[in-house]
């Protein structure tokens, strides 16, 4: 393949997530007219907001060519601990919200320590903290579901200028993350580390500091995403947050974030990825599809996204190969 064609193919691959998104939207719209109503679309955004927040955190980690499998467990631990405080110590709902975010950050510190300081492989380190977190939360809740009072759950239905609070929170997180990644020095360094950690070190970037940062940010996002989800669901079951790492990573990858690191954006990428995943579920529901069919469709879409990612990275590799002879 010649260089011009490679560039053309790349351009196409880079825009596939957008095409998928539009196709899903109109496809489901055609299948079920109720799907494209404003009420359902807003509902879609509300449903997608927790995923979008957690996926934003996951994007930071993926950009450094790492992965955080523990976000679901972080959500659970934060929810369990805060729920207990809410019920036994009578903490106010905003305080619980704040404590969940902070607890998420603390869990992120642990991941950062394992990956940036001890140099463990991110996959294994966060798989470990996933089990650790799940176990700790089970122990805290004694595997019983905790129902939260209404003064907490009503946060989810609160509106500010007509916009539901979860959507507002997601928009704020996406906006801040986008600004951090695109417009601050450390944000651009995240991309450099993900591209080539050794070269980044040679270029004078403090690579461990960047890694600490992304895992802590991911933890903070998981804590906040957990709080939003908790307010929406209203109870902490032992399965709370389970498999959330999957939907978070899927949203990021669907949005064009590369599992090989160094490529991807929170806006529009991950945000749209999160809505796309939710849209598929919502759309299938609207089209009265068999619920057992949902994972098959979501799984299929994710396979396509990962395949495109790998084709793209191979193409980029071919383009960047050093030449011996100038042409």
């Amino acid at each position: 393949m010649n260089t011009a064609r490679r560039h053309a193919t790349l351009l196409m691959l880079n825009n596939v997530p957008m095409v998928l998104f539009v196709a899903a939207l109109f496809g489901f719209g055609a299948l079920a007219p109720s799907f494209l109503t404003p009420a359902n679309l807003l509902n879609l955004l509300v449903q997608a907001s927790a995923t979008a927040i957690v996926a934003t955190g996951a994007t930071f980690v993926l950009l450094t060519a790492g992965v955080d499998l523990s976000v679901g467990s972080i959500m659970f631990v934060a929810a369990a601990l805060s729920g207990k405080l809410l019920l036994t110590q009578d903490w106010s709902p905003p305080l619980v919200f704040g404590s969940m975010v902070l607890l998420g950050g603390v869990c992120g510190l642990l991941n950062g320590f394992l990956v940036a300081r001890l140099g463990l492989i991110a996959f294994i380190a966060t798989l470990g903290t996933q089990y650790l977190g799940r176990g700790f939360g089970m122990w805290l809740t004694e595997t019983r579901a905790m129902n939260l009072p209404e003064n907490f759950t009503q946060l989810a239905s609160l509106r500010l200028l007509g916009v539901p609070l979860p959507v507002l929170a997601a928009a704020l997180v996406v906006g801040l993350a986008h600004g951090l990644l695109m417009h601050t020095p450390v944000g651009r360094q995240v991309y450099a580390v993900g591209q080539d950690a050794a070269a980044a070190r040679k270029a004078g970037i403090n690579v461990p500091a960047v890694l600490w940062l992304v895992y802590v940010l991911c933890g903070l996002c998981a804590g906040l995403g957990g709080a939003v989800a908790l307010a929406q669901i209203g109870s902490v079951a032992p399965t709370f947050g389970m498999n959330r790492e999957f939907s978070a990573i899927a949203a990021a990858v669907l949005g064009g974030t590369s599992l090989f690191g160094g490529r991807g954006r929170v806006w529009p990428g991950t945000a749209f990825g999160a809505v796309l995943i939710q849209a598929v579920e919502n759309g299938l529901h609207n089209a009265n599809a068999d619920p057992y069919f949902y994972p098959l469709v979501t799984g299929g879409i994710i396979f396509v996204a990962v395949l495109l990612d790998s084709v793209r990275s191979r193409l980029l590799g071919a383009l960047g190969r050093r030449r011996i002879r100038p042409n």
């Binding site: 651009r188 080539d196 070269a199 980044a200 270029a203 004078g204 160094g262 383009l319 030449r323």
Partner: protein, 536 residues
């Protein structure tokens, strides 16, 4: 006038092998120093010491009269030393501007927010300087190799260094870009910037430098003003021969006539059946044939161009070339690791239709890679596992396919003896625990177990001590005397001259010269390998 930079008795060894010996050199401010030397002469080691990537074993450096002992690249940058490396250190996923200012972005006020407009204007200024007409927000991945090189140069300039080092900056530049780059160097020199320029294009070095330094085998053999040198003298200084190296004698000359000297290759019946089944022909020709390996018009755009040669049974054929001449790339194409666009490769007259490593292996080819750490060995695996890796299938029991531990252990034992692996290491010890020389014996042993008919060796004795080197040379010759054709790639001219029956010379992905043993001439070989053409 006091020196800007001074090396004082710099010495460095890698695993006991000296690579720099007592380098003492002063660089005056405003001077452009041209540095030349063969591969492995110690240029890059010296640069790495200067850049803080390596620590010297002895000696010290002085920068503007004060002690300079960098512990990392940041220290070099802090005093004002910038590098333009041969291999690019850019981030293709970032823009040109971001690559230039990655660690020192201009900010908006006190907040850590990038001032994108300032980045763009600053970047545009440096791009104009190097003659690259691309918008500053262009992603580096969309640039050609030559353009990327210019970005690398712009990055070095944008740190506004006191001393700038160019390591082969023109290899991927087109003629026009090269001319622009030389004009830039002249401008920088006129501004009084101190530079070190390393290149294999001797004419360029002579034209651009005020002073020249010649390195050979880690020793500074000459240093003086440009007027003292010309191309002939430089070549003579670069090649001077090393006397401490002995080479094993050949027992038998390679096959040149029609009489074969090839052993019958023992064929596993299962393997033969596979070959039969896949090739479609009923025979498995393993006997002598001339030529053993024939390469015709092999081409891959941007990598190798129209390579043709033959390798005969019992012959040791050397491939010489400077770094980046395409030698290893040629070997990778031959072994089916990389594709080719035109030409053919045939073994015993049968073309390899779609060469893949498994296919090449079946045809009796073996390829010892350049880097034993990266792709030659499974470092954490045991000695026995590494030795058995290639021939594992031949130890599978017919029927069940389970490994026959008895024949496997016997094979490992016999090859350990044959390559004289240190007897103190247990079979189950990880290869990582062996010395470099013994690791190389394991890699070679692994391939020798397969009794290859065509043995491709890429830098088989790099970084190992003299004793181990001699024995590996012996093993290579033994293999040739048993009838195999050996293709040996080396940066060490002495090694090729000592071992080979014939030497091919590569330059910029092309074969440029071929010499038979009676015609071996160090200067001619080196001259052919160096760039003759200079862009003016």
């Amino acid at each position: 006038m006091s020196a800007l930079l001074q090396f004082d008795g710099i010495t460095k060894r890698f695993g006991g092998v000296p690579v720099l010996r007592d380098i003492t050199l002063a660089l005056q401010p405003g001077i452009t120093l041209g540095m030349v030397g063969e591969n492995g002469a110690g240029k890059s080691t010296l640069l790495n010491i200067l850049g803080g990537n390596l620590r010297p074993d002895a000696g010290r450096m002085t920068w503007e009269g004060g002690a300079y002992a960098p512990t990392g690249p940041a220290d070099a940058e802090a005093v004002g030393i910038a590098f333009v490396h041969q291999e690019l250190n850019l981030f293709p996923n970032l823009s040109i501007g971001e690559n230039l200012f990655l660690t020192r972005f201009p900010r908006r006020g006190r907040w850590p927010v990038i001032h994108h407009r300032a980045v763009a204007t600053e970047t545009a200024r440096w791009l104009l300087e190097v003659g690259l007409t691309a918008p500053p927000d262009t992603l580096v991945e969309s640039l050609s190799a030559g353009e990327r090189q210019l970005v690398e140069i712009a990055r070095a300039l944008s740190s506004q260094p006191r001393l700038i080092l160019f390591d082969e900056p023109t290899t991927s530049l087109s003629e026009r870009e090269t001319r622009q780059f030389f004009a830039l160097m002249e401008r920088l020199r006129a501004r009084g910037l101190t530079m070190i320029y390393i290149s294999h294009t001797l004419e360029d070095v002579l034209r651009l430098s005020d002073e020249l330094a010649v390195l050979r085998d880690g020793t500074l053999v000459a240093h003086g003003p440009r007027a003292e040198f010309d191309v002939d003298r430089l070549v003579t200084l670069m090649v001077g021969r090393r006397l401490d190296q002995l080479f094993p004698a050949r027992q038998r000359a390679p096959v040149v006539g029609n009489e074969p000297a090839v052993e019958e290759r023992p064929i596993d019946p299962r393997q033969a059946a596979q070959v039969k089944a896949r090739s479609g022909t009923g025979t498995v020709p393993r006997g002598p044939c001339r030529p053993l390996l024939e390469v015709r018009g092999l081409t891959r755009t941007g990598v190798v161009q129209d390579i043709s040669f033959q390798l005969n049974a019992g012959e040791v054929l050397g491939v010489f070339g400077l770094m980046g001449a395409g030698r290893s790339e040629l070997a990778q194409i031959l072994f089916g690791l990389e594709p080719f666009e035109a030409g053919s490769v045939s073994i015993c007259g049968r073309p390899l239709v779609s060469p893949r490593p498994t296919h090449c292996l079946r045809e009796g080819m073996a390829y010892l890679t350049e880097s034993r750490h990266e792709d030659g060995l499974a470092l954490e695996a045991s000695i026995a596992e590494n030795l058995a890796l290639v021939t594992l299938r031949s130890h599978a029991r017919s029927g069940t396919g389970w490994l026959n531990r008895v024949t496997l252990a016997a094979a490992v034992r016999s090859i350990r003896e044959a390559v004289r692996l240190t007897p103190t290491a247990r079979d189950d010890a990880p290869v990582r625990t062996l010395s470099g020389g013994n690791q190389q014996r394991v890699v070679l042993g692994k391939w020798l177990l397969a009794k290859p008919q065509v043995l491709i060796l890429d830098e088989p004795t790099r970084g190992i001590d003299v004793g181990a080197k001699f024995e590996i040379h012996q093993l290579i010759l033994q293999r040739a005397e048993a009838g195999a054709g050996v293709l040996i790639i080396s940066s060490e001219l002495e090694e090729l001259i000592g071992l080979c029956d014939r030497i091919l010379v590569m330059r910029r992905g092309e074969l440029v010269d071929e010499l038979s043993r009676s015609k071996f001439d160090r200067e001619r070989i080196l001259r052919a390998a160096l760039h003759e053409r200079s862009a003016t």
